[in-house]
């Protein structure tokens, strides 16, 4: 069981990701945007962070940068949720320190399959 932080301003997407993870036996913390995610992350340890990119307030790319500056999150896998067309988001995400991306739309099965790349 892993502890996972899920960040997305869309309730539907956030719930879809988090319900899927919870069903798979993981422990999930949800946040609506980058700032709330940072608050949730401070002083805690997560095994994985999954974040949307396009959010009001602090976006996903900035969140990745901020998280990488926190010692506990130096090596934590961080996935960004992006759309197929957003090639530059992928590279911006990588430059910010994201581990990888998950292309929207995705099915719960794809999400679970992807977890293998980032969780032990």
């Amino acid at each position: 069981m892993a502890k996972i932080l899920v960040v997305d301003d869309s309730t539907t997407m956030r719930q879809m990701v988090s319900f899927t993870l919870v069903d798979a036996g993981h422990d999930v913390v949800e946040a609506e945007d980058g700032n709330k995610a940072l608050n949730a992350a401070r002083g805690k340890k997560f095994d994985l962070v999954i974040t949307d990119v396009n959010m009001p307030g602090m976006n996903g790319i900035d969140l990745v940068k901020c998280l990488r500056d926190i010692p506990e999150f130096k090596f934590t896998p961080i996935l960004v949720l992006t759309t197929e067309s957003a090639q530059d988001i992928k590279s911006r995400g990588r430059d910010a320190g994201a581990t990888g991306w998950l292309v929207k739309p995705f099915s719960p099965d794809v999400l679970l399959a992807t977890l293998k790349k980032v969780l032990d």
């Binding site: 539907t12 934590t76 991306w101 929207k104 969780l119």
Partner: protein, 658 residues
Amino acid sequence: MTIDLTRFHESFFTESLEGLDATEANLLALERAEAGPDSEDRLNAVFRGFHSIKGAAGSLGFDAIAQFTHHVEEFLDLWRKGTAEVERKGLDTVLACIDHARLLLRAARENAPAGADRSADLIRQLGKLSRPQPAPRAASAAPAAPAKGTYRIRFRPGPESLRRGNDPLRLLRVLADLGKLEVEADLSALPLEGDFDAERSYLGWRLTLVTQARPEQVEDVFAWVRDESEVEIQSSRPKSREDRRRVDRRSVQRRVGPRRAEEPPPDMTEGMRTDRLHVSRDKVDELVNQVGELVITKTMMKQVALSLDAASIARLEPILQQLERNTRELQEGVMGIRMLPMNHAFGRFTRLVRDTGQRLDKLVRLEVTGGDSELDKSMIEKLVDPLTHLVRNALDHGVEPPTERKDRGKPEMAVLSLHAQHRGGNIEIRVTDDGRGIDPERVERRAREAGLIRENEAVTLERAAELIFEPGLSTAEQVNDLSGRGVGLDVVRKNIMALNGTLSVETWPGRGTAFVIRLPLTLAIIDGMLVTCGKDAYIVPLAYIVECLQPERSKLKSIAGRGMLVDVRGTYLPLLELGRVTSGAAGPYEESLLMVLEAEGNRIVLQVDQLLGQEQVVIKSLEANYRKVPYIAGATILGEGRVVLILDVASLVRAARE
């Protein structure tokens, strides 16, 4: 693992429809405001609105919605990047796209996909406005079982990959899941002991994978690390016919979409009815708190009740009081969950005012205040129609064309304001325009034509303000598509009264008109005065009671043909004996009690036998459980189990004045 996606559907529909409302508001704000620092944020928010729907729709399998919103998003991206200019035609088209997205969402919610033609049409329009866009990739088809192949892979992760959370061992494990994997480590790059940095990656691998997986699947494993790592994949797998055919099949699928007739224009009020509530955490916490208190009080009562004697009965009293307080607060809390800010109704009028103003060639600005005042959700839903009518009415009859306004020395841009405010247990909603106001002469002319007034009756401003609510009176010079729907202000008033509310009008000739709606905060529970009349008891809703008086014989005047009047500090009000209405006989005047009631701007005096006190009552529909009874608004059950009727004050007032 199969996951039931349907449980996310309702949340998706609710969220997306609300998101579209916000998107529409942002788009309209974008249109109004000149380019400024806000406009970029607004544009981003509009983009995000469609982007979110696209993402969720695709994930939940609503492909038609995903594809449609994808095109809108691509178009908006041109605005965002500045490659295309934000202009009127584009705004109109995107607004039409918002309407259509609503329709698509509702159709999907009803499990009756529709609107494919309209989608294609709007996508074409968007395409014309930008440049021809390449079609989006269709959702990938399910893979058919392909032949086995062998992949020889050389993989050396970039030195920084660990630092970005990519553990190469996990990637190898994912590869191993695809088939049979042989791994040979390449240690040649390992540094001498002293130079070893634990945060860097030095290893490389030669891998042999035998699998049924397609090349894309194998490549996909390395997608995140490809750019910074050395990855070489050699495939000895024969291309299957399936691979070669896949492209063709996709393009065929797109061409044979269902064809439907043109959809009717969207209904303003639809989409208000969401079946899920978004409730703030504070409200729920407060409720949980209240339930806890209630449980404690119950336990205390139980303890006292177990050892009941004369002394403990005295101790029971404060606990009962506490129980009453808990119950009341719990009730308020539960009702609060159904409360929504008025903005839920007000939000959609920006668009209505814009579109209607354009159609009538009038310049109108909408101002909304007090939109965070809360009202029961079901009331808000029922208010949309009457409000829509009042707003249309104000734009149509109240607001003058720009040239006329200029001639009168008014600014060409008219202001229509929607204002909500709590007053006691009620909410007051005002629809105000700064137009021409009600013209008594015009109303008089119409009323005379319609035979609503007597031959020589003069029409004052006050009388005119009442006459406009008469059925059959329309002051529109010509019937048009806005007000010529056969629905008049009389119907609006009826709808408001059905919500236990009142509708009145204030007008200032040449300066404007305000329609005022007063409503109880919730439909289900009202404060009432318990009164008796003969053998029966009745509830008079508190909202209508102005004052209670002791009867004085000297204040009672009889006027031939117009019944009895009571002098209330110099104003003569008609007297209605409740007994005469209910049983045909009233008790003696001197032993009775008088209540001054006001509804629809008119006052009467109601004579009852006795006042028993104030009660908070839950309204039960009499119509639903029995049948409609004149002068009765509903029924309720009192604490001791007695059924009591609730008076319909508005109809009593009307009866008394006739």
